[in-house]
C-alpha cells in the first residue's frame, strides 16, 4: 500500500508535471515514512543542480564528487527539518551552497579574498547561472566559440572537461608534455573568453 502514497500528492516539480511521476513532496513523505530507497529518485532529480554549484568552486573532480555526495547525505539526515510546504530543489541547492562555503572556509590554501569570490560565485551558481536562461545562453556562446577554436585546442578541452582526463593524460593522448597542455588549456580559455565577449557585443 505504499505506492499510492507517492501518487496521491499534487505534483510540484516540472518533471513530475510532465510525466505524472511521483512528486518531490510524495518522495519526501515516503522517505520520512521509512522508505529510504525513494531518496534515490530525489538524488537523480537534483544531483546535476548540486554538481553545478559544487563544480563552480572546486577544481578537483573527486573532491567535487565527494562534496555532492555529502550534500545529499546531509539532506537525508536533515530531512526532518525540511518544510514540506516548500520545494525540495531550492532547499537542497541552499544546502549545497552552504556546504561549498564551509568547504572553502576550511580550505586554508584559499585566502580570504579569494574565498569571498568563491562565495559570490557559489551564490551565482544557485541563482543567476543556474537559472536556465543564463546558463543556456552561456552554453550556446561556448558552443559557437569552441567550434572556432583550432582543432588541437578543442581536442584538449574535450578530453579534459568532458572526458575527465588530467593534464598528464591529455598530454599522452595528444603526444606532448603536461606543461604544454596546461599552457594550451590556459590559452584556450582566454581565447574563449575573448570570443564570447565579441559574440556578446554583436548580439
Amino acid at each position: 500500500m505504499d505506492v499510492p502514497m507517492l501518487a496521491d500528492t499534487k505534483p510540484s516539480s516540472a518533471n513530475a508535471h510532465e510525466s505524472g511521476e511521483a512528486t518531490d513532496e510524495a518522495l519526501v513523505s515516503a522517505v520520512r515514512a521509512g522508505r529510504t530507497g525513494e531518496f534515490a529518485e530525489l538524488v537523480r532529480r537534483y544531483q546535476s543542480d548540486v554538481m553545478r554549484i559544487v563544480a563552480a568552486l572546486l577544481y578537483d573532480r573527486s573532491a567535487t564528487d565527494d562534496l555532492v555526495h555529502d550534500v545529499f547525505v546531509h539532506a537525508y539526515r536533515g530531512l526532518e527539518t525540511f518544510d514540506a510546504g516548500r520545494d525540495f530543489g531550492p532547499w537542497v541547492r541552499t544546502i549545497a551552497r552552504n556546504a561549498v562555503r564551509e568547504h572553502l572556509r576550511r580550505a586554508v590554501r584559499y585566502r580570504k579574498r579569494l574565498a569571498d569570490y568563491g562565495d559570490v560565485l557559489a551564490a551565482g551558481a544557485g541563482d543567476d547561472l543556474l537559472a536556465g536562461e543564463t546558463m543556456e545562453r552561456l552554453q550556446r556562446l561556448l558552443d559557437g566559440c569552441l567550434r572556432r577554436m583550432p582543432e588541437r585546442s578543442a581536442a584538449a578541452v574535450k578530453l579534459h572537461y568532458l572526458g575527465g582526463l588530467d593534464t598528464a593524460a591529455v598530454a599522452v593522448e595528444l603526444g606532448t608534455s603536461p606543461g604544454a597542455i596546461r599552457n594550451l588549456l590556459c590559452r584556450t580559455r582566454v581565447a574563449l573568453r575573448h570570443c564570447m565577449e565579441r559574440e556578446l557585443a554583436t548580439q
Binding site: 511521476e21 513523505s29 547525505v73 556546504a99 552561456l138 572526458g163 593524460a169
Partner: protein, 550 residues
C-alpha cells in the same frame, strides 16, 4: 595571455602558490581585474557543467543504506560535523528547537512546530491509507502509480503520453502504468521495466505499459507491455516459472522466461527473433503456440492459413570476413582464427592465469588479460588499406559497465598512442570517472593521425548490461558507425583514408600492448571484416546470435 589572466587561471586550477595569491589579491582591487576574474570563472563553470555521465545516486544510496535507521533526524546529530550546523537552510523548523532531541534524561521532547509537522504527516499517512484501500477495493485503474518502468535514454523525437497528455520524453523519466511511448522514425528509446528487463524501442514504434493492476491486486501492474507497432530489442533476466514477462502485439502474445530477442510488430503480423534462451509465441488467430529457440525465428500472421513454423536464422555474413574467433576450442592457450581465410591469424593467451573458460562458451577476461597475435595482422591491414573500409564485431558480456582507459576490446596497435584501429569501452581517467558506460572506436586515417583522435563514441551510459552485440564499421567515404544490438548508437565521419595503416601492428583482445588498458568481461565471438557491413548485414549477424556453428 597576460600575467593577470595566468594568475586567475592558476587560481581556478588550484595551482596558485601562496606568494602569487597575494599578488592576485592586490590585483583584485582593480575593477578590470575583478571583471576578468568573473568572466574566466564563468567560462570555467560552463566548461565543467559539460561533464558527461554524472550520476552519484548509487554511491549516495550505498552510504544511506549503511547508516543506522535512526540516522535521519534533526540533521544536527553528534556524528554530523559541527560545521554542518551551518549547512541547512533556515526554515521554521530548523530555527526552532531541533525535533526529537533527547534531554539529559533520555526523554524525547518535540517543539510545537515539530509536533505540528508530525501530526500533519500522520494525517497524510492515514488519508493515503484510506485512499489506497478505497482504490484497491473499488478497482480503479489507470491512475499514475509508479510502474517501476523508467526511460533511461532517448534519442530524437520520443514522446510519452500519460493520462491523455502527450509530452516530450525526458531521460531519465519514470513511466506510469498505462503510459504510451512513441519513438518517431530515426529515434530511439531505452527503458527498463523495473525488474531488470531492458528494452530498446526502435524508430517508428509505439509501446504501451499495462494500466491494470496485477492479478494479486497489490504489487502494481503486471510485468510486460504491448507493442502496437514497430520493433523492440529486449533483454529479459531469467525468471522463475509462473513469473513470466508477457508481451502482446496486435497479432500475437509472447511469454518470456528470460532471454534476448527482437520483436517486430505490424498490424497483421509479428516476427520474433530469439538470440538467446527460448520464447513462446502465441498467434492470436488460432491461439496456437510455438517455442522459438535461440538462433531461430517465427512469424505470427493473422492472414496465414498454415501452422506457425520455427525457422533457422539466416547464416552470418561471410562476405569480406578476414578473421573470426569463437573461443570454442582453446588449444594450449591458443585461440584459433576459424574464418578459413589464409593465413590464419591465431591468438595466444598471453596471460593464461587471468582468463577462464566458462562452460557456456566464450572466454572470461577477469584480470588484465591479453590475447595477442604472434605475427602482425598483415592480412587485415592490407585488405583495409586497399578497401578503405573495416568492420570490428564482438559479442560480449562486460563484467562491469564502469571500465576506463578506454579499455581495449579489440585493437590493432602498438601501444596506447599508436594504432590502426581500436574498439574500446569506457571513459578516460580514473575508474568510474565520467564517460563510463559507453563504447568507442578510434581509427587512424590520413587526417586523424596516429592515435585516431577524436574517437567516435556512443553516449555515456549507453552500454547495456549483459550480453551485447557490438559492431564498429568504417566505410571508404569515412562514414563510421557503432551499432549496439543492431541499432546505430553513434555515427560520424572519420575523414581521410587508411593508407597510413602500419602493417607491423599486431591484433590484441582485452588489453593494450605494453600498457594497462584492460577490459573485463566475456568475449563470445569476435570477427573482423575488410569492409563496412551495412545495417542489414549487422542485423543478420545479430539475429544469428553469439554461438557460432554450435
Amino acid at each position: 595571455m597576460n600575467r593577470t589572466q595566468k594568475l586567475i587561471l592558476d587560481w581556478i586550477d588550484g595551482k596558485l602558490p601562496a606568494q602569487e595569491a597575494e599578488e592576485l589579491e592586490r590585483l583584485l582591487d582593480m575593477p578590470a581585474v575583478r571583471a576578468e576574474h568573473r568572466a574566466l570563472c564563468e567560462i570555467e563553470y560552463a566548461l565543467r557543467c559539460r561533464r558527461e555521465g554524472f550520476d552519484l545516486s548509487d554511491r549516495i544510496m550505498r552510504t544511506l543504506n549503511s547508516m543506522p535507521e535512526d540516522a535521519r533526524s534533526s540533521g544536527k546529530d553528534a556524528d554530523i560535523p559541527d560545521s554542518a550546523a551551518a549547512i541547512f537552510p533556515e526554515t521554521p523548523q530548523a530555527s526552532a528547537a531541533a525535533p526529537g532531541r533527547s534531554d539529559p534524561a533520555g526523554v524525547r521532547r518535540f517543539s510545537p512546530a515539530s509536533r505540528f509537522v508530525r501530526l500533519a504527516a500522520a494525517c497524510v499517512a492515514v488519508a493515503s491509507l484510506v485512499w489506497a484501500v478505497w482504490m484497491w477495493t473499488s478497482g480503479m485503474h489507470g491512475l499514475p502509480l509508479a510502474s517501476g518502468a523508467r526511460l533511461l535514454h532517448v534519442e530524437g523525437d520520443v514522446r510519452v503520453t500519460t493520462a491523455g497528455r502527450e509530452r516530450k520524453a525526458l531521460s531519465p523519466q519514470t513511466l506510469s502504468p498505462g503510459a504510451h511511448v512513441v519513438a518517431a522514425a530515426d529515434s530511439l528509446a531505452v527503458a527498463t521495466l523495473g525488474d531488470g528487463s531492458r528494452i530498446t524501442l526502435h524508430g517508428g514504434s509505439r509501446l504501451s505499459l499495462p494500466a491494470i493492476p496485477s492479478p494479486d491486486g497489490l504489487a502494481g501492474p503486471p510485468p510486460g507491455f504491448h507493442l502496437q507497432r514497430g520493433t523492440v530489442t529486449a533483454h529479459v533476466p531469467k525468471r522463475m516459472e509462473g513469473q513470466e514477462l508477457n508481451i502482446s502485439t496486435p497479432a500475437a502474445g509472447i511469454t518470456v522466461l528470460g532471454t534476448r530477442f527482437i520483436l517486430a510488430a505490424e498490424e497483421a503480423a509479428t516476427r520474433l527473433d530469439v538470440i538467446q534462451g527460448a520464447v513462446r509465441l502465441r498467434r492470436r488467430l488460432d491461439s496456437t503456440s510455438v517455442d522459438v529457440p535461440w538462433n531461430s525465428y517465427a512469424v505470427a500472421d493473422l492472414g496465414a492459413e498454415e501452422a506457425m513454423a520455427v525457422r533457422q536464422a539466416a547464416p552470418r555474413t561471410s562476405d569480406g570476413l578476414l578473421a573470426l574467433y569463437t573461443f570454442g576450442d582453446a588449444d594450449e592457450n591458443l585461440v584459433r582464427d576459424v574464418s578459413g581465410v589464409e593465413p590464419p591469424l591465431d591468438l595466444t593467451v598471453v596471460t593464461p592465469e587471468a582468463v577462464d573458460w566458462p562452460s557456456g562458451g566464450g572466454i572470461l577476461l577477469r584480470d588484465a588479460a591479453l590475447l595477442a597475435s604472434a605475427e602482425p595482422a598483415a592480412k587485415i591491414t592490407a585488405a583495409c588499406r586497399e578497401s578503405g573500409g573495416i568492420t570490428l564485431e564482438a559479442w560480449l558480456t562486460p563484467s562491469t559497465l564502469r571500465q576506463w582507459g578506454p579499455a581495449r576490446i579489440v585493437t590493432i596497435s602498438q601501444g596506447p598512442s599508436y594504432r590502426n584501429i581500436t574498439l574500446g569501452m569506457g571513459g578516460y581517467g580514473d575508474p568510474g570517472a565520467a564517460g563510463g558506460g559507453r563504447y568507442l572506436g578510434r581509427i587512424r586515417t590520413t587526417v586523424l593521425g596516429l592515435n585516431g583522435l577524436p574517437p567516435l563514441e556512443t553516449a555515456p551510459g549507453s552500454a547495456p548490461p549483459g550480453l551485447t552485440h557490438l559492431v564498429l564499421t568504417r566505410a571508404p567515404d569515412g562514414t563510421t558507425r557503432i551499432y549496439l544490438d543492431a541499432v546505430v548508437r553513434a555515427a560520424g565521419m572519420t575523414p581521410g583514408d587508411l593508407h597510413t595503416w602500419d602493417e607491423n601492428y599486431r591484433l590484441a583482445l582485452g588489453n593494450e600492448f605494453g600498457s594497462d588498458r584492460k577490459w573485463f568481461g566475456t568475449l563470445h565471438l569476435v570477427a573482423l571484416y575488410g569492409r563496412a557491413l551495412n545495417a542489414e548485414e549487422v542485423s543478420i549477424n545479430f539475429r544469428a546470435g553469439p554461438r557460432y556453428g554450435s
